[in-house]
Symmetry: C2
Subunit: 451 residues, 2 copies
């Protein structure tokens, strides 16, 4: 037996070396593909057709900020005079220079329509985070020169950056492209804009809708990038959404903050928080409708729900393109003490490495969900908990459900899109969060690819 054990052990060692060699080969192949990663199994066949938003134009350029291969890496969006802009940013205490800039400018604009119009400039490849005084200067240079090229004040130019942390942003590579970008501005160029902000994303993410607001047909369209919640030299979450609706700026800001909590802040890949996460929502007012000035306006909930749908769509796409993701899970928590508690329980499940590896392994391991509920710090009672996988009742009354079979659970877990429901059984709080599985792919992307 001892000899047999030694045989197995050396066999294991040989196989492990073999895997390492194979993985290095795969990494080399991927590098040969220009850092391209295998596309997410959830990647759509093509970019969606988005409604064009009057008063908003886009352009993209290959500035070579980090990537050498002529890949699009700078995006400019221009909003017509009279536009308003709302934003929600990372809560990180080590926020990047562009985030600090956006926060300051939005505060200064105060939600009032900008008579000269607004702009958003975004680069991929360098996050301009933890770059000290240099970072501040780079933002000032890009926004000043961009404002000059467009004929608007620098303070009306918002900026977002994603990519490596701690390296000086080569601002001159971006500013060298400003006139090219300005001249290329086009209301229909949203797909290249969406492509230009990608980092480890395996597909560009767009979403839009058309909604009737009291007789005026209004368009909403936007795009996002993600992949990991963050990976400093890799991914961060950015989203830019535009509409021709006329909505009071302060009201739009309030709506943006509320909807961010229900969408992007309910989406998690690895629970890590970027220094750069940015959501900007710009309204050009170009639809000609009477502006929505208060939440009491009957058009307000209609617009809010339409915008909610677009943000949710983008947030779900971000999770589906999560680094290494092979499964997408919607986690619905009901019966919690309140909505906030439901959300924290949902995120405890969604971020648990043990839950996420169980999803990867197609293991109907409901015990790990019980564990995650328990660790959330929120009120829960083991004996009142109900867990369902899709329509399958898995556990209730402090134990496995009477009719549950491991076969039923195992069959369900083979699906690519999973629905996990947890009823806490003690209140009315509810929340939905989205997550993906934790796979060898995540480790390969984040450990094996050196910066």
């Amino acid at each position: 037996m001892a000899e047999e054990v030694t045989d197995h052990a050396s066999e294991i060692a040989r196989k492990s070396a073999e895997i390492e060699r194979l993985e290095q080969e795969i990494a080399d192949h991927r590098k040969a593909l220009g850092q391209g990663l295998a596309p997410s199994p959830f990647a759509p066949a093509r970019f969606p057709d988005l409604p064009q938003v009057a008063g908003v134009q886009f352009a993209a350029a290959a500035a070579g900020v980090r990537y050498r291969t002529g890949r699009l890496d700078v995006m400019l969006a221009r909003l017509a005079p009279g536009s308003v802009m709302a934003g929600v940013f990372t809560r990180s205490s080590t926020r990047s220079a562009p985030v600090l800039w956006c926060e300051a400018q939005l505060r200064a604009l105060g939600g009032a329509p900008a008579p000269e119009g607004l702009a958003v400039i975004v680069n991929a490849g360098n996050s301009n985070a933890f770059t000290g005084e240099n970072g501040v200067q780079a933002v000032e240079r890009v926004t000043t020169e961009c404002g000059a090229a467009l004929g608007i004040p620098a303070g009306n130019v918002l900026m977002a950056s994603t990519g490596v942390i701690g390296e000086k942003l080569p601002a001159e590579k971006i500013t060298a492209r400003l006139f090219e970008l300005r001249d290329a501005l086009d209301g229909g160029a949203v797909e290249s804009a969406a492509r230009a902000i990608m980092t480890t994303d395996t597909f560009p993410k767009g979403a839009g809708t058309v909604v009737d607001l009291g007789g005026t047909s209004v368009n909403i369209a936007g795009f996002a990038k993600g992949s990991g919640m963050i990976a400093p030299d890799m991914a961060t979450m950015l989203a830019f959404v535009f509409t021709n609706a006329a909505v009071d700026g302060a009201l739009l800001q309030r709506m943006t903050a509320e909807l961010a909590d229900l969408t992007f802040n309910a989406a998690t890949v690895d629970g890590d928080t970027s220094t750069s996460d940015t959501l900007l929502i710009g309204a050009s007012w170009a639809s000609g409708m009477e502006p929505i000035q208060s939440a009491g306006d009957p058009r307000y909930p209609v617009f809010r729900e339409a915008l909610h749908g677009v943000l949710r769509d983008l947030a779900i796409q971000v999770v589906k393109d999560g680094e290494g993701a092979s499964k997408f899970a919607t986690i619905t928590v009901t019966g919690a003490e309140d909505d906030r508690a439901a959300r924290r329980i949902g995120l405890a499940i969604a971020n648990s490495p043990l839950v996420k590896t169980a999803l990867a392994g197609e293991d109907a391991n409901w015990g790990r969900i019980v564990m995650a509920v328990g660790k959330s710090g929120e009120k829960a009672d083991r004996d009142l908990l109900t867990i369902r996988f899709g329509d399958i009742l898995v556990a209730e009354k402090g134990w496995v459900a009477a009719g549950y079979t491991e076969n039923a659970g195992a069959a369900y877990m083979k699906r690519a899109e999973l629905e996990i429901s947890v009823d806490v059984g003690i209140g009315e709080g509810r929340a939905t969060v989205w997550t993906c599985d934790l796979t060898h792919g995540y480790i390969s992307i984040n450990a094996d690819y050196r910066s």
Copy 2:
């Protein structure tokens, strides 16, 4: 070029299938080895020599709770009449039946010396968590019959269980071994006791020391298991430490709670919290010393420091045997607002999947540490942060340090044991936490091994 890309892509697909096949083979080999995993690179050559603790005896048996192969899976410890016991347990709201039992019994004992003595019975393979009324009955049956076998009240028998969640604990398999266990009780059997509580642990963990308390030589010895912070059908953290020192029960309880925060609660593998984590510290008073009755006793800090060392040693061993661990990192945070803030910042770094994958990839990615500090929710100022790898100054004043080179960072990261220091630069708070890296091995253990 397009054709070349297709070639690479199909090559990648083939290689991926190959890896999957190889990993299945490795999993099969490991199963053939009786669930044995490749030992941690930090596994010591042999179990340490521990001082024998007068008034405490151990026995272990193979009860077949879950493992079939005659592997030790039940441990009994008996403490002499007059012993006291202190405990700290998981804060999970879905605590297991044995944890609830221990909490209730320790409350009832109230720290007073138990005239009949005490016992601890532990099984591996089944955590008896989320097992409803059945779970309560199983604990009652085991502790009642164990008490009867030892001639002590059931309430003096503490219990801990680790293993799969949600399956009925076969209490009868444990009770069938009680007389065998009682008859085997032996003051020197600590190594088999340490082995009997293992699950996915790759080595048994023991630590001990001898300390002079005012002229009396006193022994402390204990053992622990871990691996993941939890994995419901795998690992949980249990630790049992014994001493012949005479310490007032309430004082011992206070010390245990304080030291747990500095040791086991500062050790993290995956940030998941077990339903079963249990730390019990028993004092037999058999040394004959005058009891320590207050924190003002000059022997109190001496004993506390000795106990602290034993608990720290065990906690570090647990992290070094973390599932899939190839790196061990000590993270020291100084200059935080207070100690609590320092601890939260330390755990944010220690639990970040992106930091942990960077450790695995030997990537000196200090940007991910900045990110983790930022997400901790604690007060920090980007420009006051200082980061060191060992003695290497990596980042300060909001940017990479002037003398830092990527080569120096890369060379440092090749070490198996790493020291990462973060000075927040705003206060006096400090904390040390321990973590391991996040590797393909973690994914394999938790995703590829189905329950």
